[in-house]
């Protein structure tokens, strides 16, 4: 056995290790048996139907979509504005602000989660959905800022200056030139924010008010009682969403840029 085939085998094993469990979950979600494990007794979509009929799960999905959507919207809006300030303007303490903005991804999430919780306790504010949203915005924004900043650095100021010289006001210049050029990064940032928020469990467990469940916390709660085959189906849906969405986004971005001959 030569070196290359060894490396190839090694690579295959690593991929198996990473993806086999995921594959098993997807496979078992189609199992007809009432136990969520092997052996498979037949192929069926019954667990997906069960899922659909389970009010708690449907509610959790609604919460997760609402939370993810709002998180993406807010974090992208603020993130884009912050990136513009950090790249296009000079102000005192800029470096410090920049680091501070990225800090939430450097701090362990549990620490961040506890810190925000204690802070709210200190302020005597009860937990609520807007506060959960706030938490998600805090730790998804760094991703938006990083992506948008990188793109913004690549857009030369001359392009904006050319637009200004041609008679477009600063605001018109932003909407006709800067924003369209930033669009792929903004889109990517929003997708990041959505999927991260949609997947998150650590922060959500600390911040969610009583009675509100997102999909991950719902799965977590269900697992504590029993391993129902429904969970496999739920896992499959989650995988399709969180993998499919970014892939779809990347494909869309590629189509747009190829149309421009890039």
């Amino acid at each position: 056995m030569n070196g290359w085939s060894f490396i190839r085998l090694h690579a295959i094993l690593i991929y198996l290790f990473m993806f086999l469990p995921v594959g098993v979950v997807v496979l078992l979600s189609f199992n007809d048996s009432q136990f969520g494990s092997f052996p498979m007794t037949g192929v069926s979509l019954r667990w997906f139907v069960e899922l659909w009929n389970n009010d708690a799960i449907v509610r959790a999905f609604k919460v997760s979509f609402l939370l993810g959507g709002l998180t993406a919207m807010i974090s992208t809006t603020i993130g884009v504005l912050a990136s513009l300030a950090l790249v296009r303007y000079e102000f005192p303490g800029k470096q410090f602000m920049s680091t501070l903005l990225i800090a939430p991804i450097l701090v362990p999430e549990v620490v961040l989660a506890v810190a925000l919780l204690l802070f709210l306790r200190f302020l005597n504010v009860p937990k609520s959905f807007p506060l959960l949203l706030l938490g998600h915005v805090i730790f998804t924004m760094p991703f938006v800022v990083l992506v948008v900043q990188a793109r913004l650095v690549g857009i030369t100021r001359n392009v904006e200056e050319a637009a200004l010289s041609l008679g477009a006001s600063p605001i018109q210049t932003f909407f006709t030139i800067t924003l369209p050029l930033l669009a792929p990064a903004i889109f990517a940032g929003a997708l990041f924010a959505f999927t991260i928020s949609f997947d998150d469990i650590t922060g959500t467990l600390f911040w969610k008010p009583g009675g509100v469940e997102t999909v991950p916390t719902q799965i977590f709660a269900m697992l504590r009682n029993s391993i129902s085959p429904e969970i496999n189906a739920l896992g499959t849906v989650m995988i399709v969403l969180t993998v499919g969405l970014p892939l779809f986004g990347a494909a869309l971005a590629r189509t747009i840029s190829s149309r421009r001959g890039a």
Binding site: N158, E161, L164, S165, L166, A168, L181, R260, G261
Partner: protein, 364 residues
């Protein structure tokens, strides 16, 4: 007298403690082509950006068509701007790039189409309207950038090193092209470059700048033939600067005693501030020093000095020689006439006094 297109009155630019531009005044007559020439950091781009409204002057006044524009933001100044990096809008087609400025003016749709097509015709790229900038070559992109700037009929066209990113051959074509379009439209142009040959070829007036100061303002021949300072003499073309002493000045000549060359009568129109008995600098362009065989006697009135060829830099149609004369090296650029001289050869260097210029002061 008509109002000049642009007037700069004692404008100054300071960045913190650094003065990027010392008080500068300049007038661009309507339809003129004025070039700011200098090395990087001389303040030429700073000046252009102040005219554009991308920088605010720290002091002084900028007038466009006689009206003070210091407080007018860039998008209300009606300017055409062309950058070194083209700065086309990558997400818009060529047509939309050129039409961009027209959409912010009160112009009918059909009229916009006509104007854009005229502009594209003018830059000789009439059929590229639906392409995207990335599908064009650098030269084409720069033509589109020019079309975009002129289609709005700006009061003044500002060109910030527009040719510097192009290949040498293309650059010369674009130079001719740019000048043709400027001439055809009669558009007042402020051109920034560090390339002396661009400046000499294109300008009505050259403003030579150095370290935030204006060194000289004049027509290309004037700046080239009668430099006002050692900096200008060295920056434009290849010059030999020789220490000399002014012996006498009369209505026709300044007689100087130059090192190695002896007494040189410099024509008075090429002399600046000569004072009898003071040190001065004799400026001889490299192309006015001709190398000859040592047995060739110079023509009447032509000065000669012997030297030894140290380096031969063959350039095709011409040769640049570095010749050792005494303890100094002189530069000579000669057209090739027969066989070029070889390294180590002893030659007789000839120069006509009327090809010399004289500057005041000692060599710095």
């Amino acid at each position: 007298m008509t109002t000049p297109a642009v007037e700069l009155v004692d404008i100054v630019k300071r960045f913190g403690a650094i003065t990027a531009l010392q008080p500068m005044s300049l007038t661009l007559p309507e339809g003129s082509f004025v070039t700011l020439l200098g090395p990087s950091g001389c303040g030429k781009t700073t000046t252009l950006r102040m005219v554009a409204g991308l920088l605010d002057p720290s002091a002084g006044e900028i007038r466009i068509k006689g009206k003070r524009v210091n407080e007018t933001p860039i998008h209300k100044r009606n300017l055409g701007l062309v950058f070194q990096n083209y700065a086309l809008f990558p997400h818009k087609t060529v047509y939309d790039n050129v039409a961009f400025g027209l959409r912010y003016r009160d112009i009918e749709r059909s009229q916009i189409k006509k104007l854009v097509n005229e502009a594209l015709d003018l830059v000789q790229l009439p059929s590229l309207g639906d392409r995207y900038p990335k599908q064009l070559s650098g030269g084409q992109q720069q033509r589109i950038a020019l079309a975009r700037a002129i289609v709005i009929k700006p009061d003044v066209l500002l060109l910030d090193e527009p040719l510097s990113a192009l290949d040498a051959n293309l650059r010369e074509d674009m130079r001719v092209e740019l000048k043709r379009i400027q001439h055809q439209l009669g558009i007042t142009t402020l051109f920034v470059t560090h390339d002396q040959s661009e400046a000499l070829a294109m300008s009505d007036t050259i403003v030579v700048m150095s370290a935030g100061n204006v060194e000289q303002v004049g027509a290309p021949e004037e700046v080239y033939n009668t430099p006002s300072s050692e900096f200008v003499a060295r920056f434009l073309g290849a010059s030999n600067i020789i220490e000399s002493r002014t012996l006498s000045v009369d209505g026709e000549h300044a007689m100087v005693e130059a090192r190695d060359f002896g007494n040189v009568p410099v024509p008075i129109e090429r002399v600046r501030n000569a004072i009898t008995g003071r040190e001065s600098k004799l400026v001889i362009r490299a192309e006015f020093l001709t190398l000859n065989k040592t047995d060739k006697t110079p023509a009447d009135g032509v000065l000669s000095v012997n030297g030894q060829v140290e380096t031969v830099d063959y350039q095709g149609q011409a040769v640049r020689y570095f010749v050792r004369v005494g303890d100094r090296q002189l530069q000579a650029i000669n057209m090739i006439d027969g066989h070029p001289f070889a390294e180590g050869e002893t030659v007789s260097i000839h120069v006509r006094p009327r090809d010399c210029a004289l500057l005041p002061g000692a060599i710095t």
